[in-house]
Symmetry: C2
Subunit: 197 residues, 2 copies
DNA sequence: AGCCGGTTATGACGGCGGTCATAGTAGCGG
DNA sequence: CCGCTACTATGACCGCCGTCATAACCGGCT
C-alpha cells in the first residue's frame, strides 16, 4: 500500500480511520492504531498531544477530504456525467470493497458520529465539517450537470444520507443489496432533477 | 414514564437501547444500564447470562419491534395515508425529539451495527433482523397505498436508509436540517411510485 | 567532540470494563 | 420449619485502555 511511503504521522491518521470504520471508536485502541500503522507507540503522544480525541478528529477530517477527492476523481473519469452516475460511482466504492474483501466496513465519519456525538463536542464538530467537505463537491457537480442551485445542496444531502444509511443496513445484512437498491431507486429521481433545456 | 411499570428485565433492555443509541455500544457499560433502569446490578447476570452481547442483542431486537409498532400506529392515525406522509411521520419522531429534548440521539440498531458488525456475529444478525422487522410493515403499507409490490420492498429500504443516514448527519451537525431535507426531497419520489389508476 | 531538537522506547499508573464467585433475601409449597 | 427456586447484593478478579514520566536514540550543526 502506498501508505507506508508517507510519514508516520499521516500513517497513524490513516490507520485510525481504517480501524474506526471497522470497529468503531470505542473499540479502537491507541495501541492498535500504532501497531496497524507500524509506527512507534511513543509517537502517539508526540504527534497527537491532544490524545485520542485529536487523533479521531484528524481521522474524521482526513476521511472527509478523502471522500471529496473521490468525488472529484469520479467526475473526471466520467465522459457524460449524470447525477445517477455520480451516485452510482460513490456507492460502487463500497460494493467493490465487498466483492474484493468479502465483507463490508463502514464509514469512519459515521462511526465517529455514532460513538462521539453525545460525548465529545469537538469530534461531533469534526464530523459535521467532514460531511460538509464531502457534500460540497457533490452539490457543485450537480449544479454543473444542470440541477437548479437551490436543490443541489438538498440532493447532495439526500445522496449522502441514502449512502450512509444503506451502508449500515448492508453491513448488518452482510450483503450489499441495500446499496444497489438505493442506487436503483434513487437514480431516476436524481436525473429527473436536471433542468431540461 | 410507563417503563417503570414493567418488570426489571424489560426495563434493562429498554435502558440499554436508550443508552446505546446515545453513547454507542462501546461506551455503554453494564453498570450504567442497571443504574439507568433502576435495577439491581446483580440481576444483569441473572437475566442475561449471555453477558453484554445478549443484552445488546435484545435491545436491538426490541428497537426493531418498537420501530415496526410505530409504523403501524402512524398508519392507523393517518386518514389518507400516502408514502410521503408515512415517511414524514417516521422522520418526525426524531425532529420532535430534537424540539423537546434540544438534542438528537441516534438509532440503537445503527449504533450496534457500527460498533459490532465486524466483531460480534450475533449482534450483526440481530441488527439485520431488526431492520427486516422494521422494513416489513413499511413495505406492506406501501403496497396498501398502491405501490407495485416489486418496488415496495426497495422503497422501504430506501426510506430507512435515507432516515438513518440523515439522522447521522443531523447528529453531526447538531441540527435536524438533514432530516427535513430528505423528507422534502424524497417525498415526491415516493408518492410518484403509487400506481395511477 | 559536544550539544540539541525532534523522535522513539518502555514501563508504570490509575481507572474502568465485563465477568465470576459467593452469599444473602423473599416468597412459597410441603 | 424445611427446602427450594427466583432474585438480589457485593466484592473481587483480570484485563485493557488512555495517559504520563522518563530515558534513550539520532541526525545535524557549531
Amino acid at each position: 500500500m502506498a501508505g507506508s511511503r508517507r510519514g508516520p504521522r499521516e500513517r497513524m491518521v490513516f490507520s485510525a480511520a481504517q480501524l474506526i470504520r471497522r470497529d468503531g471508536v470505542g473499540a479502537t485502541g491507541m495501541r492498535d492504531v500504532a501497531a496497524h500503522a507500524e509506527a512507534p507507540r511513543g509517537s502517539l503522544q508526540h504527534y497527537f498531544p491532544g490524545g485520542k480525541e485529536q487523533l479521531v478528529n484528524e481521522a474524521v477530517a482526513w476521511a472527509g477530504r478523502y471522500a471529496a477527492r473521490r468525488v472529484a476523481r469520479f467526475l473526471a473519469g466520467m465522459a457524460e456525467p449524470t447525477p445517477s452516475g455520480l451516485f452510482a460511482a460513490m456507492v460502487r466504492q463500497w460494493t467493490e470493497e465487498y466483492e474484493t474483501a468479502g465483507h463490508l466496513s463502514g464509514c469512519p465519519v459515521a462511526a465517529a458520529t455514532v460513538d462521539c456525538a453525545s460525548s465529545a463536542a469537538s469530534t461531533r464538530q469534526a464530523a459535521a465539517t467532514a460531511f460538509a467537505t464531502w457534500a460540497r463537491p457533490v452539490a457543485e457537480a450537480l449544479t454543473g450537470m444542470g440541477v437548479p442551485a437551490d436543490r443541489a445542496g438538498s440532493l447532495a444531502t439526500l445522496m449522502i444520507s441514502a449512502l450512509e444509511g444503506a451502508l449500515i443496513i448492508a453491513r448488518a445484512e452482510a450483503d450489499p443489496r441495500a446499496l444497489t437498491t438505493v442506487v436503483r431507486e434513487l437514480g431516476p429521481l436524481l436525473d429527473a432533477a436536471v433542468r431540461k433545456d
